[in-house]
Amino acid sequence: MAIVTQPTPAVPTPPDRTTPPGAGPDAPVQLFRRPTGYSKGIWGWLTTVDHKKIGILYGVTAFIFFLIGGIEALLLRVQLGSPDNTFLSAEAYNQAFTMHGTTMVFLVIMPMSAAFANYLMPLMIGARDVAFPRLNAFSFWVFLVGGLFMYSSFFLGGAPNGGWFGYTPLTREMPGNNIDFWVFGLQILGIASLSGAVNLIVTTINMRAPGMSLMRMPIFVWMSLVAQFLLLFAMPVITVALVLLTFDRQFATNFFNVEAGADPLLWQHLFWLFGHPEVYILILPAMGIVSEVLPVFSRKPLFGYQVMVFSGIAIGFMGWGVWVHHMFATGLGPVATSAFAASTMFIAVPTGVKIFNWLSTLWRGKIRLTTPFLFAVGFVTMFTIGGLSGVTHAVVPSDTQQTDTYYIVAHFHYVLFGGSMFGLFAGIYFWHPKVTGRMLSETLGKLHFWLMLIGFNMTFGPFHILGLQGMPRRVYTYPAGKGWDFWNFIATLGSFVIAASIAVFILNLWKSRRNAHVGPDPWDARTLEWSIPSPPPEYNFAEIPLVTARDDVWHRKYTEDDQGRPVLREGMQAGAPIGAHVEAKHPPAGADDGEEGPGGPLSGDAAPPDAEDPSGEQGGSGHEVPEAEHAEEEPHIHMPSPSYWPAFSAVGLAVLCYGVMYKTWIVAVLGAVWILGGFYAWALEPATAPEEPELETPDTETTDEHATVSAPGSHE
């Protein structure tokens, strides 16, 4: 995506190629030539430090893990579809349910949320990249390495089989390397999360465009920021838990050795001290997405922005005070359980507030039933169910019946699948045009939504019943005669309906590859990312905007009449402000398409891509977003250069872990040296390479044609 031409007549002095690159007093360590410019191809992706490409890498990888985790789920459902089934052995089932949970939590929802955070947070605050672009790349490669490391276990003796929560002393004693893959894999993933958290926190705190005060930030940025703080503080706790378990397994220490007097509950306390903030890490970004999508398609601002921000922060704080509700059956005594029952009930208050605020956003709006909107409403309705069942768990005596049964499995699937995943799908459909420049098919999108909603409720709705009928969780089989046969069968059918819906989604991605290009703002949206081309140029903003309001882009387009209704400003393009989504090979549909309702049939509004303006930046489809006032001119800023050291260093982590796991110390030492060497070279390398070519922006208004562009404040 590197821009275009050097202007003639003034050709800049080409870099001196007689001197080996990087040689000289400031020479960084190099294995081979550092890539420069916005590299293409596989090498480009491997060395990218662009937050947008990294976001795409996170998203694609997370989606692939979603498919794998989904297959694991289907295996579980086939096994449980009938009593006394022998489709999976006990060992295979235990591996499948462990990996299903571990995958969905750590390799799907967290990185998918990271994909959105990475792609959007800089755009939404008017920045050109994150604070530490190479660290950002490192986070992604470490995530990939961690996922691959954990999955390599399938080929190296067996996958983790102690549950995604790994209770001791069971996991202390389990033979083989299965648990070790789990422990080391999670440690690697923890490094990715922690470095990502530091990066995004600094970015959000420090790189906001002028005028972008904290209370003008889009709500998605706020929710992700709270999630990053939770990651920052929660990851070290599970790190310690995993370290203690590692030491017990590798070096025969006594942390969970009951014979030496250890307390098995130490693991549970440490795990859940991490684990409960973790579930808020899993839900807050999706809540942020929903809070962005609902206002756009209701054509009203988010109801109660300040309260939404404060309730998110409140959830972040209160989430630290409820962890024992995962341990109500462990015999901690009435005082402790009462205290945590109360705290658990009260965290429902800020959560419930959000639901009412979303409802009020819809209320008296002008609603367009687009696919992202449907998924967002799906989130709210499904999350409500999950939240209510959560409140029933807070009633401790009830929980002693419900815990460890399918009733709990129902609860967390309603909040994590019906909640987080639906929210993330809303985000995918909403921001797909921004990322790729093309719309996804609305027809296939709606089919995906309805199939998924039906399949999801068909699978997990019955889980409530099964739990109330006494079916425990984590069981590889059950006998006939317990009354569970029927609903298990229905649930299994439902899981295949979900699978079909995902197939529809994949079909949608594929078929939409060749849809027409769209302009910057196909949805008539509200936030800064919709003011730049789709897809955005490498440098995001040609000039950093000066922000004057929350939902700045909306206010540039619309003012309000004396009844508070939005009115297009002078000079804005009249007519339907809805963006186009021409499906390839279809003629523009007429009004009986019935898809978006009145306001102008969508497809009919599509202007053909302008040959002179292929990126559609001038609003060839959708309308034009007037430019913001600009912050003071930036004379001289650099784009950070690509680098291979992040990916290189990441691999070293796996080498180290294999070495320690197999007690092959030479390999472990090699891994440590590998990592340190990578870090050292990275530290000595400047953020921008001296040979980095200059970029030119298409419609810069400065008088000088060689104004260079780069990401302010990025250097690490």
Binding site: T13, V240, A241, T253, N254, G261, H636, P686
Partner: protein
């Protein structure tokens, strides 16, 4: 503001840090990214050590009766001396920062090296202490005390060691002329880390050694 020529932009890019700071738009807080990042990182480290310390405290006094206990092995005077050494290293760290901020690079290197040496002495002192404990029957596997003590202090010692390596790297960079006054913040940030590690030691020393 004027726009620089390509030649200027090239040479400017090479001294990347100085140029970059001068040419960057101000950060929203006025603090550099590295500084905010270091504070965030140290915040997470608080939780790391908090969890390790909590584990130690949970298992305090829970080891099997008759097995090796703190009273059997701790030499408070000895550990007090090494604690003092580490404390003094924080002072020398402050002096190193003051030196570079005043442009005195010779003194910077003296104090960097001193801090590194004091830190290394602390670690060496701990290593010696651990060999004595081992001879007296306390190792990683001995009992709850052994496991939690060594893992906690071992993690701390590893953090000190990494700090020493960073200090020596700074010393080496300065020797090669690559640590100009304009990059004083790098020393400040390493100093932040170093002081944090020292504070953690004070907490550990108090809870593990001093309080019975």
């Amino acid at each position: 503001m004027t726009v620089t020529t390509p030649e200027e932009s090239h040479s400017a890019a090479e001294g990347s840090h100085t140029e970059v700071e001068a040419g960057h738009p101000p950060t929203s807080t006025g603090l550099s990214h590295e500084k905010v990042g270091m504070w965030a990182f140290l915040g997470s480290e608080c939780l790391l050590f908090g969890a390790l310390i909590s584990t130690y405290i949970l298992y305090k006094g829970q080891s099997e009766a008759g097995s090796v206990s703190p009273a059997d092995v701790f030499d408070i005077p000895y550990t007090s001396v090494s604690s003092f050494v580490l404390l003094m290293s924080s002072l020398t760290m402050v002096l190193a920062l003051a030196a570079i901020q005043q442009g005195d690079h010779r003194r910077l290197r003296v104090w960097l090296l001193t801090t590194a040496l004091l830190g290394a002495s602390f670690v060496a002192g701990q290593a010696y202490e651990f060999t004595v404990f081992t001879r007296e029957g306390l190792n990683l596997r001995t009992n709850l005390f052994g496991s939690s003590f060594y893992v906690l202090t071992g993690f701390h010692g590893a953090h000190v060691t990494i700090g020493v390596l960073m200090l020596l790297s700074l010393w080496s960079l300065s020797m090669k002329g690559k640590l100009p006054t304009a990059r004083a913040e790098t020393v400040e940030l390493v100093g932040l880390y170093w002081h944090f590690v020292d504070v953690i030691w004070i907490v550990i020393f108090t809870l593990v050694y001093l309080i019975p």
